[in-house]
């Protein structure tokens, strides 16, 4: 198994934030990760043009969780976005200074996925906050996130609201190239003395043995705890529930998990997940 170029070392991390509250967790996690890896942090605030357009429509109304409804206006939305951007920048500056991390911040206006994709070309890891929607977490991830997952070549760290990066690392191994990349990244992120968990996901016991040997050979000097489960969302989620809180490394290819099921897993896991292409 050869390490993939670009995964040798993570030098630059992108954290994409928008106007929603789940971005804060992502920003904090990105700073901590950058500090740990001595990487540079690039903050990107995207002023979603969809929101701006919506606010300009004459009938646009915003509904809160307490049925408080108010009229949306362009100037208000504009101002709110600018304010949010400032807040995020200040938060990033404060956190980065605390952790002694090099950082930069940009504001872009446009479609979220497109803007993030553009900046992602310059970095080694993309960090996003996701909010599986308090009310609708079954199948729905935000469109932007789905688009990025589909198109990005970089590993993506997805953090649900209120979840932080935690040890140990839990790597899902299916034997695919993406799974191999995930294993490499896990090895890169772990300290030798720190145990990690590898979950062999396969519906075939023989294949599972083979995959385990393969992974064990690669992780020869690493302390590993081995787990096994079926390659289904339900089985993977059930296995994760039994494991201590930790950060999951998930192969992004369809062979491992179809897109829809992958999105469901991301929406329901309630963990930090690094999706590896």
């Amino acid at each position: 198994m050869n390490p993939t170029p670009g995964l040798q070392r993570i030098r630059r991390i992108l954290v994409a934030v928008d106007a929603c509250t789940h971005s804060v967790s992502a920003l904090e996690a990105a700073v901590q990760l950058a500090a740990q890896l001595h990487a540079e942090l690039v903050g990107l605030f995207v002023e979603d043009t969809n929101l701006l357009r919506l606010a300009a429509l004459p009938f646009a109304r915003e509904w809160g969780t307490t049925t408080l409804v108010r009229r949306m206006e362009s100037t208000t939305m504009d101002r709110a976005l600018r304010h949010q951007a400032q807040q995020m920048q200040q938060l990033l500056a404060r956190s980065a200074a605390q952790h002694q991390v090099r950082w930069s911040f940009r504001v872009a206006r446009g479609e979220i996925a497109a803007q993030v994709r553009q900046v992602a070309e310059e970095v080694d890891l993309v960090t996003l906050g996701i909010n599986p929607w308090e009310y609708t977490n079954q199948l729905y991830l935000e469109t932007a996130t789905r688009k990025l997952l589909r198109d990005s070549l970089r590993p993506m760290l997805l953090l649900p609201q209120g979840v932080a990066l935690q040890s140990p690392l839990i790597c899902l191994y299916t034997g695919t190239p993406a799974a191999q990349h995930a294993l490499e990244l896990a090895k890169h992120l772990s300290a030798p003395h720190q145990p990690m968990t590898v979950v062999i996901a396969s519906n075939d016991p023989q294949n599972a043995l083979r995959l385990r040997e393969q992974a064990a050979q690669f992780l020869a000097e690493q302390a590993v705890q081995w787990q096994h489960c079926q390659l289904t969302v339900a089985a993977i989620l059930a296995r994760l529930r039994l494991l201590p809180a930790g950060t999951v490394l998930l192969p992004a290819d369809a062979t491992s998990l179809p897109e829809r099921e992958r999105d469901m897993l991301l929406a329901k896991s309630q963990r930090a997940v690094i999706v590896v292409q």
Binding site: A19, C20, A29, Q32, L33, Q36, T49, N50, L51, R53, L54, A56, L57, P58, F59, A60, R61, E62, W63, G64, T65, T66, T67, L68, V69, M72, A80, L81, Q84, E111, N131, W133, Y135, T136, N137, Q138, L139, Y140, E142, T143, G162, V163, A164, L165, Q166, S167, A191, Q194, R241, L242, A245, T247, Q270
Partner: protein, 807 residues
């Protein structure tokens, strides 16, 4: 002349013959197990301990040193050993009224068992409950519930979203919530594009969005009720899981305590409290933020909250045999009633039921409590607190501040403990009688008095028993044994302590001290047994240690600073005798008493009283002799004399009437102008009939005058007049007895003033003949004649005065 003879030496002291003891040393004697000389008291104690009625507590009265505490404890311990062990008492938290802890009674030894069982229960729960909530089964069931509840929400939103998408509308997240927006090619339509739309399309779009928003509003309105329902169902699941876990653990306790309904009832409340407060036992929720590659911090269990399930073992009789016998040496209010302690936390004082501490009444419950009465009365509010507990038959623990309503801070009000005990107060007789007279509660609460005697008869049986008592004391104190002579001398000194040759003292403390000190001197002399000489040495050494003042007083008499005559005669002057008591030592010494007479109105002036240096009893004695004089000599004529009596060279208060006969002798001497022998000293009280009455300290007084005469040189004429009623109290020193035997000193027993004045003057007092006249030259005749002359002179002066007025 008088024919009163001095007392024979044999009557001057108690002589106990050692030969009547049929042992060589006390080591041969059996211990005396009975209490000697206290039949009345021991009978009362038996009765008081045995009777089981309210109010039958005991007051043991007697002088210190008579063995009250020792005897009482012995009786109590004997009785208590035959009685059942008192129960254990515990305080537990009241989950219904937290500020009113419950008290539970359990059989002895079960209190600590319950405490340990509850502690174990909590530990088991702390291990079991988190495991139950972390089990796959629970997580799966909870997940199912949560998913079911989420699914309801999601379904509603998904339906709405799908419906919106069918109309080309998307549900967007906004900074503060969500909104519907028309889309084209996956993007929200721009305002410009929207404006270009036909009016009908725009209207339709807005109508659709309005309908969708109505549906969204209905869904949002449902969220809170769904959330509540979800929480209730999760709570019910938690409770069911807890019930199973807790129930199993408590089932074992129910079996253990199935015969104790109060404990079972308590366990029911515990179970309910655990179910209501499951979070106390659970781990913290997972998913809290920690540093990547850092440590995970977990919040500890709330120790204070768990404490409410502990048990305060207030009274533990698990190791006690028989009923408790408690003696509280420092009976303050909290020491008796108990107290509630507080801890200082963050600037405030906090408390809970675990800080309830037992008092002596708690410890003695089911048994006996021995208290020193004086100590109880001297402690603020201790007596009132004790009475309150005994009256109520229950013990409320509260601070003095609470009891006096001085403190209104909310504190604990522990459930009272029912009381079943006997209180034994030990005190001096004066305290008993004062309480009986002034405290109406006392007679209700302390119905049994055990009166300790100070002395016992000095008869043949008493001597033998006393010898055994000495043998018992010697063994208990691990002293050298006494030989017969030492026993005899100890008995003689015991009589001296009792101040009566027909009694033996029951002040065991003094006797014990004598034996201990004799043991010391015996060792000092390298003796292997204690002899008479060792006893005497111990006695003399103790006197010597205390008689510094006596030495100084005698020295001043010897030096002539204090004027005392011990020979020749004087008119109107007599040697009285006084006693000074300092600590445990008393000594006597002579005091000059003088009388002067003049024409007057019939008063006898007591100079001590006039200058307020005479106590009431002393003044009474002077008035009595005044009554004697008036009754004998002035029944038919006015008393035209004014007399003054005084104790010369006394500058402090004089009290007591033991010198009233001496004062009368001085007065009669002055009236009759008949001198009194200064070689004699006088002590004795006189009544209005001229009878001499008994006084106290007769031995010290005689020895005091003897010492003064001896230091000047005995003449063979010297001696002391004492009341005949005091002969039985004579226990004089050996040197005095020897001087009397050698006729160098004399002790006379006097019954009447007439006998005394005859001895003091050498002139008969005289008795009235048939015509009512006294014999010529007798003291009475001389006094009567003098008073008659004074009366005549007074009448003449009065007539002259009248004549002058007329003129």
């Amino acid at each position: 002349m008088t024919d009163i003879q001095p007392l024979a030496p044999a009557r001057l002291a108690l002589r106990i013959d050692p030969a009547q003891f049929h042992f060589t040393t006390t080591a041969e004697l059996d211990d005396l197990t009975d209490v000697l000389g206290q039949a009345r008291a021991t009978e009362a104690i038996r009765f008081g301990i045995g009777i089981r009625r309210a109010g039958y507590n005991l007051f043991v009265l007697g002088s210190p040193g008579t063995g009250r505490h020792t005897v009482v404890r012995r009786f109590l311990e004997q009785q208590a050993a035959t009685e059942a062990v008192a129960p254990d008492w515990v305080y537990v938290h009241s989950f219904v009224q937290p500020h009113r802890p419950h008290i539970l009674q359990l059989p002895a030894g079960w209190g600590r068992r319950l405490r340990d069982d509850m502690q174990q229960l909590i530990e088991d729960l702390l291990a079991t409950i988190p495991a139950v909530f972390e089990s796959e089964q629970y997580r799966a069931r909870r997940h199912e519930l949560e998913e079911e509840l989420k699914a309801r929400r999601e379904h509603a939103f998904e339906e709405l979203r799908a419906e919106a998408e069918n109309h080309g509308i998307t549900l967007l997240r906004t900074p503060s919530g969500m909104a519907f927006a028309p889309t084209r090619n996956g993007e929200v339509i721009s305002p410009e594009e929207y404006e270009k739309l036909p009016e009908a399309d725009k209207k339709r779009t807005e109508e659709v969005i309005a309908v969708l928003e109505e549906k969204l509003e209905r869904i949002i309105q449902q969220i809170q009720p769904w959330r509540r329902e979800g929480l209730q169902r999760i709570h019910a699941l938690d409770r069911e899981v807890m019930q199973s876990a807790v129930g199993q653990l408590l089932e074992e306790l129910h079996k253990t305590y199935h015969e104790l309904p109060a404990v079972l009832s308590y366990l029911e409340t515990v179970q309910q409290a655990i179910l209501d407060n499951a979070d106390m036992f659970r781990n913290e929720e997972e998913g809290e933020g920690v540093n990547f590659l850092g440590m995970t911090l977990r919040k500890g269990k709330d120790g204070e909250a768990l404490q409410q399930f502990s048990v305060n073992l207030l009274i533990d009789n698990g190791d006690t045999h028989g009923a408790p016998v408690i003696a509280e040496d420092n009976p303050t209010f909290p020491a008796l009633i108990g107290r509630i302690e507080h801890l200082a936390q963050m600037g405030t004082l906090v408390t809970d039921f675990t800080l309830i501490k037992a008092g002596a009444l708690h410890h003695a419950n089911g048994g006996y409590l021995v208290l020193d009465a004086m100590k109880v009365l001297m402690q603020p509010f201790a007596w009132e607190g004790l009475k309150r507990a005994l009256r109520a038959g229950a013990l409320h623990i509260e601070s003095l501040g609470q009891a006096l309503s001085l403190v209104s801070t909310v504190s604990l009000e522990p459930e009272p403990m029912p009381l079943d005990l006997k209180v034994i107060l030990v005190g001096e007789p004066l305290l008993y009688y004062l309480l009986s007279h002034y405290d109406p509660d006392f007679a209700e609460l302390f119905k049994v008095a055990a009166d300790f005697s100070e002395e016992m008869p000095c008869d043949a049986n008493g001597l033998q028993l006393y010898a055994r008592l000495l043998a018992t004391m010697v063994k208990r104190e691990q002293l050298l044994p006494l030989d017969r002579t030492a026993v005899a001398r100890t008995l003689e000194l015991s009589a001296r302590l009792a101040e009566d040759a027909e009694k033996l003292s029951l002040h065991m403390r003094d006797i014990t001290d004598l034996l201990r000190e004799a043991d010391y001197w015996a060792h000092d002399a390298k003796h292997t047994i204690i002899t008479r000489e060792d006893i005497q040495r111990a006695y003399d050494a103790k006197v010597y240690r205390a008689d510094h003042l006596r030495e100084r007083v005698y020295a001043e008499i010897e030096r002539g600073t204090i004027l005392i005559d011990t020979q020749n005669t004087k008119v109107g002057q007599v040697n009285g005798l006084s006693v000074i008591g300092l600590g445990q030592f008393a000594f006597g010494y002579p005091t000059r008493i003088t009388a002067s007479v003049q024409l007057g109105g019939g008063e006898v002036i007591d100079i001590q009283r006039e200058v307020e240096l005479g106590g009431p009893i002393h003044s009474k004695g002077v008035m009595i002799l005044e009554g004697f004089v008036g009754g004998r000599y002035a029944a038919e004529q006015p008393l035209a004399m004014s007399a003054r009596l005084t104790f010369e060279q006394t500058y402090g208060e004089v009290e007591g009437d033991s010198a009233s006969s001496a004062e009368l002798y001085a007065l009669l001497s002055a009236l009759a102008t008949m001198p009194i022998k200064q070689s004699l000293a006088v002590t004795g009280s006189v009544n209005q009939h001229g009878e001499i009455q008994a006084i106290g300290g007769v031995n010290e007084k005689i020895e005091g005058f003897f010492d003064i005469c001896r230091q000047r040189g005995l003449t063979g004429e010297q001696g002391v007049l004492i009341p005949a009623a005091n002969v039985k109290h004579l226990l004089l020193r050996e040197d005095v007895i020897q001087a009397c035997a050698a006729k160098q000193f004399h002790v006379y027993a006097i019954e009447t003033i007439d006998a005394g004045i005859a001895l003091l003057t050498g002139v008969p007092a005289g008795e009235r003949d048939a015509s009512g006249e006294y014999p010529q030259g007798s003291i009475n005749q001389l006094v009567a004649a003098r008073l008659a002359a004074m009366a005549q002179t007074a009448r003449e002066f009065a007539q002259v005065g009248k004549d002058k007025e007329l003129i």
